[in-house]
């Protein structure tokens, strides 16, 4: 075959629909790859000291390196609570019913509220002079002061409120993707709804749950507004994004801020890689039981 003939064949095979990828690819390059590489390069250009000085500074400064642990202590429980709560509720909602739509709508509303609005509401509701406190004192259930804002719990609650709808919607869509005839087949073989969940739904959902966990975790790990508004940003909720913010916009040390952002990304990467690694232990094929 001549080179020209090969060329026409290659040309004929080029799918012009692939060009549709170009805008998205350009978007990724300009808004993600370039800033990331620029930040990485910047993090090795400290104001003073050798090329690793920023990283050394981070891991030796008392108000910097603990932020990793502080953030993990918020993000991991929040993610576990969100995924753990969403799973049984999504299981209960798996069949189409007249309630499914109503419940789904109610559960999803918080996703439309901004973090700031949620924080505002929580301050009013959970604050020391908030409705919850008033109510508990009114019925004499608990008379002491309730501290659910401006501390760890405030931020955790806010992360659950804003993160739950996301986890719920994701799991619900995985759940409804599983052919319900599988559960029916299991039922005729003697599996009660509990056993159907354990033996059919859970194993088939596992890869989806891992994915959901990763996405929810990344979202929670980058918590910023609620940590400031509902937490105590100087102490127990001084999360890593606050440290980066302070470095960038209070000390104007962009290089240090970039290093902190890189560390933040690296921690997220480790957790995500670990969870996705676990995912490979499970069955990851089609979730229907035969020909449709």
């Amino acid at each position: 075959m001549s080179a020209a003939a090969a060329d026409t064949i290659a040309r004929a095979r080029f799918d012009r629909a692939l060009l549709l990828v170009v805008p998205a690819a350009a978007f990724m390059l300009i808004l993600f790859v370039y800033p990331f590489l620029y930040g990485l390069w910047l993090s090795f250009q400290p104001k003073e000291g050798g090329w690793l000085a920023n990283y050394l500074h981070f891991f030796t400064t008392d108000n910097l390196y603990p932020t990793i642990w502080i953030t993990l202590k918020l993000a991991l429980p929040a993610t576990l609570i969100n995924v753990g709560l969403a799973l049984p509720i999504a299981y209960a909602m798996r069949r189409k019913s007249r309630y499914q739509r109503i419940v789904t709508t109610i559960l999803v509303v918080p996703i439309t509220l901004g973090t700031v609005l949620i924080a505002e509401g929580m301050l009013l509701y959970f604050g020391p002079k908030g409705w919850l406190s008033h109510f508990l004192q009114l019925v004499h259930l608990y008379d002491g002061p309730i501290r659910l804002t401006h501390n760890y719990w405030g931020v955790l609650i806010s992360l659950v409120i804003s993160g739950f709808p996301f986890a719920f919607l994701l799991i619900l869509s995985y759940m409804t993707g599983i052919d319900p005839v599988l559960a029916r087949a299991a039922a005729t073989l003697g599996a009660d709804p509990r056993a159907q969940f354990r033996h059919i739904y859970l194993p088939l959902l596992a890869p989806g749950l891992a994915m959901c966990f990763c996405l929810a975790f990344v979202q929670a790990f980058s918590v910023f507004p609620s940590a400031v508004l509902l937490g105590s940003p100087a102490g127990p909720t001084r999360v890593i994004s606050i440290a980066a913010y302070e470095a960038a916009f209070e000390q104007y040390d962009y290089s240090l801020a970039s290093a902190i952002a890189m560390i933040m990304g690296f921690v997220q990467l480790i957790i995500v890689a670990a969870v996705l690694g676990l995912r490979n232990l499970f069955y990851r094929g089609p979730v229907s039981g035969g020909k449709g």
């Binding site: 599988l182 039922a187 073989l189 599996a191 979730v287």
Partner: protein, 358 residues
């Protein structure tokens, strides 16, 4: 869960569904049926006739709107499916995609908490029964459609259920595999000697497999009978149409002599058997294409016509014969006949079935 029974009794089993405009309609209307141990029952009918609804009601996958289901003296329609212990084979197999063939088949046994020392040999036996030895460790996705269906059958029968329910198990298989698997289902049924209820829209399947056929239409039972009965003596015109009586002619009643009826049209005069009491002077005549023969002119029940179309079928041909006034007859005839030939066809009196006109 009962391990055996002497009869399953459906007593006026009814299931309503919300139809268009919120009006409820009976998908299944007062189905009454008694199934004996070891019997093979086919529920036969076109789609939407309520046969699958009936099966799902028996399996416990649908609640009843009325009536009851009894296993000897035990009322079972209030039990959830997992407490009934019937084996069910689904139309799209419904194999668990994340479990190997072996684990799929053993699922029911594990749910019954049997010791694994007992599960393994029973799974092994089931694999042998459906001729899948050597495939035990594959995932369902690695099997062909026919193999998947056999796994589904093995999974349903390995728990030795008193009753096996099959929902169009062959409809996803190709023609050759369908006939093979059909024979296999018959063989397995004989070996297990358990009652089977088999839903199908294919009259050949029902005729070849069943001890008794329940013909359904619009949620209601039309006829219950042994295959030769349903094949030869359809209870009404709907059953006749469904059982392959492709020629349905509406003619005038000319005379009655006991069960024999004479009917006539412009250029058709036939004598046939009255299958139902007739009302009015019009009647519908049902004749199978296979029972009309091309013959010499003259004699009773002979019709003259011209061949309008020929479909070659190998052994014989399917002819469309049109009479002078335009009445169309489907006829099986010799392959020697050509289009535009003038022919005479005849049908025996016993094979002309006369029903009241619709």
């Amino acid at each position: 869960m009962k391990h055996d029974f002497s009869e399953l009794r459906l007593d006026r089993v009814t299931r309503k569904f919300a139809g268009a405009g919120g009006k409820a309609f009976n998908a299944l209307d007062e189905l009454t049926l008694t199934v004996k141990r070891g019997e093979f029952i086919a529920l036969l009918g076109p789609s939407g006739c309520g046969k699958s609804t009936a099966l799902n009601c028996i399996a416990g996958l649908l609640d009843l709107s009325g009536g009851g289901i009894w296993l000897d003296e035990l009322r079972i329609d209030t039990l959830p499916p997992e407490k009934r212990g019937f084996g069910m084979v689904f139309q799209n197999y419904a194999l668990f995609p994340h479990m190997s063939v072996e684990r799929n088949i053993g699922f029911g046994l594990r749910m019954r908490n049997l010791p694994s020392a007992e599960i393994a040999p029973r799974v092994e036996r089931a694999l042998k029964l459906v001729q899948l030895v050597g495939q035990a460790h594959k995932l369902p996705g690695q099997l062909s459609g026919g193999q998947q269906q056999r796994v589904a059958i093995a999974r349903a029968i390995v728990v030795e259920p008193p009753l096996i329910l099959m929902d169009e198990p062959l409809s996803n298989l190709d023609a050759k595999l369908r006939i093979e698997t059909r024979a296999e289902i018959r063989r397995i049924h004989r070996e297990l000697d358990r009652a089977t209820i088999y839903v199908t829209h294919d009259q050949d399947e029902a005729l070849s497999l069943a001890d008794r056929i329940v013909v359904m239409k619009d949620g209601a039972v039309q006829q219950i009978g042994a295959p030769p009965e349903v094949y030869g003596q359809p209870a009404n015109l709907a059953v006749a149409r469904f059982m392959g009586y492709r020629n349905v002619l509406t003619l005038d009643v000319a005379g009655l002599d006991g069960d024999r009826v004479s009917v006539a049209g412009p250029d058709v005069a036939l004598t046939g058997m009255r299958m139902q009491p007739l009302v009015g002077h019009r009647a519908a005549v049902a004749i199978r294409p296979e029972e009309i023969v091309v013959s010499a002119p003259g004699g009773a029940n002979t019709i003259a016509g011209r061949v309008d179309n020929v479909e070659y079928c190998g052994r014989d041909a399917l002819l469309d014969v049109v009479t002078a006034s335009g009445t169309l007859l489907h006829v099986r005839g010799p392959v020697s006949i050509r289009r535009e030939d003038e022919v005479h066809v005849r049908v025996p009196v016993e094979r002309v079935l006369v029903y009241p006109a619709e």
